[in-house]
């Protein structure tokens, strides 16, 4: 019994030691390496003002009230009922993508951008005009290496340079 236990101890230590000599396996060295995300990743949202029909379905379906319909800053002369367009508040957005799924004209789409930081609360609220310019680009100290994540039998995940 005691001998068996000694072997169990040794086996446990040996198993741990085996991984001492393997290179770091799963860690993605962010921000030096950045994942090249596939299409369909639910990142920050892009908005096409040209095709938007102002149906406000996105604002209605938004579970976090992140999308609101805004009146244009300057209402054209003689327009009695100016159209409202969507703007987004990224302090509230939960990236569920319901707005993208419900948009009937494909005006809202996901980008793969997700790692952006802001200094103030107000910066994160995008009115329709700013929303149409697209999400801000992430700022890296130096240009990161883009890697593709590939499931691997040996290592779980493997990172391959794009």
């Amino acid at each position: 019994m005691a001998v068996e236990r000694v072997f169990d101890h040794l086996r446990a230590i040996a198993t741990g030691a085996k991984y001492l000599f393997l290179k770091p396996r799963l860690t993605l060295m962010y921000p030096d390496e950045v994942e090249d995300l596939p299409r369909g990743y639910r990142g920050m949202i892009t908005y096409n003002h040209e095709t938007c029909i102002s149906c406000s379905l996105c604002a209605m379906v938004c579970p976090a009230d992140a999308i609101k319909m805004y009146l244009p800053k300057e209402v054209p002369e003689g327009e009695k009922r100016p159209k409202r367009y969507p703007g987004i508040n990224y302090t509230r957005c939960i990236f569920c993508g319901f707005c993208v799924s419900i948009c009937p004209t494909f005006s809202l789409q996901h980008s793969t951008i997700h790692d952006v930081s802001f200094y103030t609360f107000e910066e994160q609220i995008f009115r329709p005009e700013e929303f149409a310019k697209g999400p801000p680009k992430p700022q890296y100290d130096k240009e990161p290496v883009k890697v593709r994540v590939i499931p691997d039998e040996e290592r779980g995940l493997r990172y391959e340079r794009v």
Partner: protein, 398 residues
């Protein structure tokens, strides 16, 4: 408050000492444990819950039906699919919608991927609580390939919001089965390493074997669900007792153990990872072709969206989803999540919001176990028992 004062005064003979564990950690998470100790022996332990109560049930009453999907995912972040699925099943029963077979299989696929990484989460936390940080690092690392798979399927890492009334939001990518197979082989190999490093490790066995024994009768009487119940020898699994999605067509075993101690609860989880891998392989093999979105809602889509759906197999919501109305009535659905049975009950008065919404999470049922199991044990056994329950405070507090 008065209750606490009482406790202190009762032990005024100086024999017992009140020991507060948490809420700022020793591995307690967002919860406080009030332990009464006699030297090194815990006389009684009272969990003090509610630190992360977020009022999910009340918020649900002012949210529209579709908006509740992300909301119910929030309480249990490691096991979002179970809540998502339970809610949508209940809603579909109200709406009278039946999802197509392929959608059922895709739901099962995601639920099982989620179950594996939820169990790894539990194993990792359990490991670090009893001082094996290697197990913690390994388990959290090995969650990653599974989270990556789920991300390929749904577009998000944790909060999938993948299951919607009438089906799922997108079909799996064509090369998905190959990737799943690779990850499963990797997990299989890793489980052998876990066996050597952790399961058969004498230190771990000394900490867990015979600790916190839950008897079969007590488990039933206290209403415990999930792996904690099965570790006490009760072969109860909602997937078998009340089958949903593709589970009736799938062949799998309910893992049980007779011991009922912390080690048994841990080993049931490991066994369930193996069973989930079996289920995933069967699901991928038996996956039928066909639509992934119910005919009822598909018909409501305008022609350009129908075309998009046919080409990309990505579901666009019909406009009705923004203000979905459920007919008056009530419905209930239950699902076997990673931690146990999730029950969701909806009362609708025919409007856009539920009149009453109830969510019973497995962790809440498991909370009573602390009081029951942590009696006449050593202080050092508290984390060993706590970790073995895979208790998740936000899920219990809701």
């Amino acid at each position: 408050m008065s209750e606490f004062v009482e406790t202190i005064s009762r032990s005024e003979d100086g024999r017992f000492l009140e020991l507060l564990i948490g809420p700022q950690h020793p591995a307690s998470g967002h919860m406080r444990l009030v332990a009464e100790v006699d030297g090194d022996v815990v006389v009684s332990l009272r969990p003090n819950l509610g630190y992360v109560h977020r009022s999910v049930e009340k918020i649900a009453e002012v949210k529209k039906f579709l908006q509740i999907i992300p909301l119910v995912e929030r309480p249990s972040l490691a096991d979002t699919t179970a809540n998502n699925l339970a809610y949508v099943l209940a809603l579909e029963r109200l709406l009278g919608v039946e999802p197509p077979p392929r959608a059922q299989y895709l739901r099962t696929l995601l639920a099982e991927i989620n179950r594996i990484h939820s169990h790894f989460y539990g194993i990792g936390i359990h490991g670090v609580m009893i001082g094996s940080s290697t197990a913690f690092m390994w388990a959290f690392g090995d969650r990653e390939p599974l989270i990556h798979l789920a991300q390929e399927l749904t577009g998000a890492r944790i909060t999938y919001s993948y299951i919607i009334p009438g089906g799922v939001r997108r079909d799996m990518p064509p090369d998905f089965p190959d990737k799943v197979e690779k990850v499963l082989r990797y997990i299989e190999r890793r489980l052998e390493d876990y066996d050597k490093l952790y399961v058969r490790n004498p230190v771990v066995r000394a900490r867990l074997e015979g600790v916190g024994v839950l008897k079969k009768e007590d488990a039933i009487r206290l209403g415990i669900t999930g792996p904690n119940l099965r570790a006490s020898g009760v072969p109860y699994d909602v997937r078998k007792a009340d089958p949903y999605c593709a589970y009736p067509d799938i062949d799998f075993n309910v893992i049980t153990r007779e011991e009922g101690d912390a080690m048994a609860r841990f080993l049931v989880r490991v066994g369930e990872i193996r069973e989930s891998m079996k289920i995933i392989r069967q699901v991928l093999k038996k996956m039928p072709d066909g639509p992934i979105f119910a005919e009822k809602y598909y018909k409501m889509l305008p022609p350009n969206l129908k075309k998009y759906y046919e080409e990309t197999k990505e579901v666009k919501f019909p406009g009705i989803f923004a203000n979905l109305r459920a007919p008056a009535g009530e419905s209930v659905a239950r699902v076997e999540g990673g931690r146990g049975e999730v029950v969701i009950y909806i009362v609708s008065k025919g409007g856009m919001n539920p009149y009453r919404f109830r969510i019973v999470t497995p962790s809440f049922r498991n909370a009573v176990l602390f009081e029951h199991l942590v009696r006449n044990v050593r202080v050092a056994d508290i984390p060993a028992i706590y970790g073995s329950l895979d208790y998740f405070p936000p899920e219990a507090d809701r």
